[in-house]
Symmetry: C4
Subunit: 283 residues, 4 copies
């Protein structure tokens, strides 16, 4: 979630380009925030239009034509916004290559491609990139410390990544073993379990307790294997929950003190510390 521009420390009178930059890329001024809120509303509306245009009830005239028109209005707006961003930043190439730069481009490109290519439009392709644009919502809410919360979540996930990797490897191995056992037991008789990929799909759907019911065991042996896998899956969800929960608890308990040592500048002190634990300086 890089946001292109810095936080802007100088409060000197700004030129026109600088002011535009502040409005478009930052959310610290009222105008900048209003621009971002309007943008979020436009993104949400454009997502809604694409969703509506996939409904069979609205794929008849006059709805199809109207939705097509609205679609072009949003595409025009987003194109203007993209060009504005390119013109305002100091390094347009860097913006164009950034995560949001690519997402912004991809969210308008498919509409233009339909002019030159097939007449059969695939509006749903737009949704994938347009939905990513919704990540901008975090930027708008930056002031309200939402970003710092996202950062805290991210940190907890990062700190736990070794444990999560161990967990996912274990899940993978259990899925392979369970589906191979099930394939051995019912592969010949159960037509929805006639290959290993099907059996692995069954194992994932079962172990995560989704349980569609499109692939179910037909024999007593298969039911026994299923019960064993299900109880294992039921038990395994506990592991990562405990890991992350402990990680967040630990960071919360530790993170309270923001005091940093005057001598060695270390900041990670406990709230009850009276002396710097790195250099022994009194806090």
């Amino acid at each position: 979630m890089k946001t292109g521009g810095g936080a802007g420390g100088e409060r000197a009178p700004l030129g026109r380009r600088e002011r535009l930059h502040e409005i478009i890329f930052e959310a610290d001024t009222p105008t900048g925030k209003a621009f971002d809120v309007a943008l979020i509303v436009a993104i949400l509306a454009s997502v809604l239009v694409v969703i509506l245009s996939t409904m069979p009830e609205l794929r008849v005239e006059p709805w199809q034509g109207r939705l097509y028109a609205v679609e072009w209005v949003f595409t025009g707006l987003f194109t203007a916004e993209y060009l504005l961003r390119l013109g305002v930043v100091k390094r347009p190439i860097r913006y164009a290559r950034s995560f949001f730069g690519i997402v912004d481009l991809l969210s308008i490109l498919p509409v233009y491609l339909t002019l030159f290519l097939a007449d059969e439009s695939h509006p749903e392709a737009l949704l994938v990139v347009r939905a990513l644009r919704l990540l901008r919502v975090f930027r708008v809410l930056k002031l309200a410390r939402y970003l710092s919360e996202a950062t805290a979540l991210k940190r907890a996930v990062i700190v736990s990544r070794h444990k999560i990797f161990v967990f996912l490897t274990a899940v993978l191995i259990i899925v392979v073993i369970a589906s191979a056992t099930m394939y051995l037991a019912e592969g010949q008789t159960n037509e929805s379990l006639d290959s290993m990929p099907e059996a692995m799909y069954w194992a994932v759907i079962t172990m995560t307790t989704v349980g569609y019911g499109d692939v179910t065991p037909g024999t007593i042996t298969g039911k026994f294997i299923t019960a064993a896998l299900v109880l294992m899956g039921y038990a395994m969800i506990i592991v990562p929950t405990g890991i992350l929960s402990a990680e967040i608890t630990a960071h919360r308990g530790k993170g309270v003190s923001t005091q940093s040592c005057r001598a060695c500048m270390h900041a990670d002190h406990d709230p009850d510390a009276a002396f710097c634990k790195f250099c022994g300086e009194k806090l």
Copy 2:
């Protein structure tokens, strides 16, 4: 869950209206508690009557007539209670506008409307508001510190609201992306996935591990997308669990006592501590 009346500090002799107020709006006296318990029982019974009156087996005579009569008895009782509340409070308008005032009115109004309007009754409409009246159960149990527990839960949710918002936005974005991908993959071939709203219904049902099985993937690609989404949903439930768990833990360990020792200035005392546990000074 505002409860209309204060806790009543004065114990002076009360007039009739004051006594009625105490009985109806407070649960600190035996009579007041008895009234509230009787009210809860009546609400539960009236909910049960409405539930029974929707069953086809009981929609024939003589049951339908009997249930209809009981329904009117409860409506009469609740009307009397509502009028009593209006007459007893100092500011009837304020009560009528409060959450429980509106709920109390709405839970009797539909029955009277059936007299003037259609003969086809919709008893289930009553249930939605009658069920809300069950929230009064917390008021009756106030003395047993249930309300403070509800408050503790509410506080934990409020403190975590930024994290929960970040989480829900992430869930929304994942649902949109997953359903768009699925619609791209199976929209043409799978008739239960023939529009984006259907695909989003599928994504929510799948990601939360409900898995009805009324919408299931039909192709290998779709099954792969499903497995990926399911594992993501399986992993994501962990995040809010950890957040709330950490929040409750933190509040439990910390929140209650903010007293610090006058001698050694240590602050981390238990709520039941009478002496400083670090230096022995009286708190």
Copy 3:
């Protein structure tokens, strides 16, 4: 899980009845433990026999006859055990009225009743009480501190009971409101949702993410209600998890120090306490 007899402090020479009592009711001596292990094995075997006797494949001769015989052997054994327990305890009436006394009686009575009553046996009725007898397993494992773990769990549940009650009431209210809304939306058109009890069954199955798929929404409105309920259920499981997790953490962190104050005999000190927090005495 009361176990009838005390822990037996005296180690004086015992009479025959006392020795039998020690073997049957206690698990502290090798013979007593061996008796309990043999009992658990017998209970497990008798449960297995009843399970087997319900299988259609084994309801033909010669299996049915053999299982019937084995059933009578176990009934004989358990009858002998029950009479022995009655004869050995000091207060037979008190044992007969205790939880395990009633369970022990109920687990043999139905077999005798089949002699006088119907010829059609219902072996599954036995299972419910026989399964309860499995609770004795905790007694056998008493020495290995399993009971204390069960106690810790029980204490955590008890401490959290107010929060759990608040949670369950909220779940009940949500189930009633959601099922009434769903009944309003699809009650006329969806034949598996044609009464409130059916709708409440649907709400429970959906909210807990079981999702059988025998009752599913048929309209867009119904699907929207379902998605909302599902996300609510997905979010609500977090609440009790966090509550109990915090409770267990708190008890674990606090329970470490077993030091009690010499002056005031209070025991609930933190591990890092140097002075009694209740009376100021140095620990």
Copy 4:
């Protein structure tokens, strides 16, 4: 996950056999790590080949022949690796008897057996053992402290094993009681519940919230039993989650540093502390 060889403290010039040993059994040198990474890739590829060879689409020529050939290449490679390991270790018998020794042998043996026995191959039997070989992935990643994470998880599980045993016994008893009740209620009318094993399968699938929908209650009584069991299962997942979460939290907060200050004897220091945080003394 014993790994056969020690960590090797001596850095003296090694003989050829010692060097081979270091490459094959250890992951501390670049060559050793490269060997392990290559091995993991080979194992993953061989698992993929077996998965592909079960797909009906690839069970026709020329694919079947090609996959058969690749299968033999991997078997040859793994045979060479197995013999190399046997020749390099000081005590070949001990390696052959170790967990990985047996897994290594079992993962190649079935392919050779197809030469002498039936012509109908069961490649899925290979998967069960080949998947177990994936556990070697933890060894490769040893340097990156993944093993220590796995150890931390293992320790948390071990410390909680008494609680988990109590929990699983309770689940077993509830499953037996619930399935017996359900069998009593619907055993005569519901053909998918016509024996206790079927009812127990239903109870496990329901209680863990998988809910395939292949066995569902058909009567109001059955639906009531189901709702009760489901709410119980929904509540029970909380218990082990809380247990493990608390265990991990406790170990994280406590375990790592056991160093205590020489001046004030405080012990609760962070692992990265160089000075006592209570009195400033150098640790």
